[in-house]
C-alpha cells in the first residue's frame, strides 16, 4: 500500500496515489531542496506516486565543497 522515499540513508513511507510534491510536504521536506528520481531517472514533482515503488531523493544543498570558507561569518570572497 505504500511508497518509499529515500533521502540519504533515511526512508520515509507515504501512501501511493498522491503527487511527489504533496508527499514531500507531508513528510516535511522542502520540495525545492531535493530532486526526485525514479529508477535513476529524474522526474518532476507533479508525478503521481505508484504502488510499491521506491523514489530516491537527491539532496540539492551543499556547502562543504565550496572552495572557500562556509563557516566564516565575515564571508569573504
Amino acid at each position: 500500500m505504500t511508497v518509499t522515499l529515500r533521502l540519504r540513508d533515511k526512508d520515509y513511507e507515504v501512501r501511493a496515489g498522491m503527487t511527489i510534491r504533496d508527499a514531500l510536504l507531508q513528510i516535511g521536506i522542502e520540495p525545492d531542496s531535493v530532486l526526485p528520481t525514479r529508477q535513476g531517472e529524474l522526474i518532476t514533482e507533479d508525478e503521481i506516486l505508484q504502488e510499491g515503488e521506491h523514489i530516491r531523493l537527491v539532496s540539492v544543498i551543499s556547502g562543504g565543497s565550496l572552495p572557500s570558507d562556509p563557516l566564516g561569518l565575515g564571508m569573504r570572497r
Binding site: V58, G64, M75, R77
Partner: protein, 314 residues
C-alpha cells in the same frame, strides 16, 4: 509535465523561470545559460587558459564538463585537504575528480596539502589558534593560497570556481546581515586580478543549485554526495535553507535578490575600503604572494607556526 520546447516528458520544472524541460533540452539549456553569463560578465574568451578548481562536487565537475562542451580549454585543480571524517571524504572526492578527468581526457593538477606543507588540514587546524579548532579557517586560507599559486605558476589567465546562485546568495545574505560593505563591494561574478592575484570568475553564479545538481544527475556525472564532515551545521547551509523557504513562497526571489544587488553594486552603493583588506598589496617575504601587511602573509605565518608546533610535539 511536458517539455516546453518539444512536448516530451519533462525531467525538471524550474518555477523561477516558468520553464519545464526534458532531459536533452535541459542538457542544452545549461551550457547556453553559462555561455550567456560568461559573455555578459566578460569572464574569458575562446583563447583563454582556464584553471577550474574542482572539489569532486556537482558544481565544480559540472562546470568543468560545461566548459569542455562549450569548447573552452580548461585544466582542473584538485586540492587534497586530508579530511577523513569517517567517510574518507578527501580520498573519495579526489577519486571522483581523477575519474572525471580520465574519462574526458582532461588535465588534472593535484596538490596534496600534507605532502607540500607537512600536515593535513585537520592536523594543522589543531595546531594553530586560527579558527578556534575548526578547520575551515585554515582550509579556506590554504585553498586560496594554493589556487593562486598554481594559477600563476601555470600561466593561467583565469581561475574558475563552481559557485552557484545559492552559494552567492547565501554569502550575500551573510554579508548583508553584517553590513560587511567591503566584502559586498567585491562580491560578484568576476573578481579582477591585480598585483599577482589571479582573476577569479564564477560562470554558474546565476544557476540555481537545484539546476546544477540536476545537470550533474541527468548528464551522469559521478560526483561526491557527501558533505565535507566539517560543513555540518555551517552558517552558509542555514542561510541556504532559510532562503529556500522564502523562495518556496516567491519563486525567483533568490535570483532577483542577487541581480538587484549586482545593480546596486554597479551603481557604486558599496565602498571598497569600508572594511576588509585595503588597497595596497605587497609581496610576502617568504612566498612572494600578495599580502596586505608587510612581512609574511597569513598563509606562511600560519603554516610556519604549525610546523614549529609539530617539531615540538615529536
Amino acid at each position: 509535465m511536458k517539455c516546453r520546447k518539444c512536448g516530451d516528458r519533462a525531467v525538471i520544472n524550474m518555477r523561477q523561470h516558468k520553464l519545464a524541460l526534458c532531459g536533452p533540452h535541459f542538457l542544452d539549456w545549461i551550457p547556453d545559460q553559462a555561455l550567456r553569463f560568461i559573455e555578459k560578465y566578460r569572464m574569458f574568451d575562446a583563447d583563454s587558459r582556464i584553471l577550474v578548481a574542482v572539489s569532486g562536487g556537482k558544481d565544480s565537475l559540472g562546470l568543468w564538463d560545461v566548459l569542455g562542451r562549450l569548447g573552452f580549454q580548461a585544466d582542473g585543480l584538485y586540492i587534497g585537504l586530508g579530511i577523513d571524517g569517517g567517510t574518507g571524504y578527501s580520498a573519495e572526492s579526489q577519486r571522483k575528480c581523477e575519474a572525471f578527468a580520465e574519462a574526458h581526457g582532461l588535465h588534472l593538477i593535484v596538490v596534496d596539502v600534507a605532502e607540500v606543507e607537512g600536515a593535513t588540514i585537520p592536523t594543522a587546524a589543531s595546531l594553530t589558534n586560527r579558527g578556534r579548532g575548526k578547520p575551515c579557517s585554515v582550509c579556506g586560507l590554504t585553498k586560496r593560497h594554493v589556487m593562486n599559486r598554481v594559477a600563476r605558476d601555470g600561466g593561467y589567465d583565469v581561475l574558475a570556481t563552481g559557485h552557484n546562485l545559492d552559494d552567492e546568495v547565501a554569502v550575500l545574505f551573510g554579508n548583508t546581515l553584517n553590513w560587511a560593505s567591503g566584502y559586498l563591494a567585491r562580491q560578484g561574478p568576476v573578481l579582477e586580478g591585480r598585483d599577482g592575484l589571479i582573476r577569479k570568475v564564477k560562470p554558474f553564479c546565476r544557476l540555481y543549485e537545484r539546476e546544477t545538481a540536476a545537470y550533474a544527475l541527468v548528464r551522469g556525472i559521478e560526483y561526491i554526495y557527501d558533505e565535507c564532515p566539517h560543513a555540518v551545521g555551517a552558517t552558509s547551509i542555514y542561510y541556504k535553507e532559510t532562503l529556500n523557504r522564502m523562495e518556496a513562497d516567491r519563486p525567483g526571489m533568490k535570483l532577483s535578490f542577487y541581480l538587484a544587488f549586482l545593480r546596486a553594486r554597479q551603481q557604486g552603493l558599496f565602498a571598497e575600503a569600508a572594511d576588509g583588506p585595503t588597497d595596497s598589496l605587497q609581496a610576502c617575504s617568504t612566498c612572494g604572494q600578495p599580502t596586505t601587511a608587510p612581512g609574511q602573509c597569513a598563509f606562511c605565518r600560519t603554516w610556519d607556526a604549525v610546523r614549529a608546533r609539530q617539531r615540538v610535539s615529536v
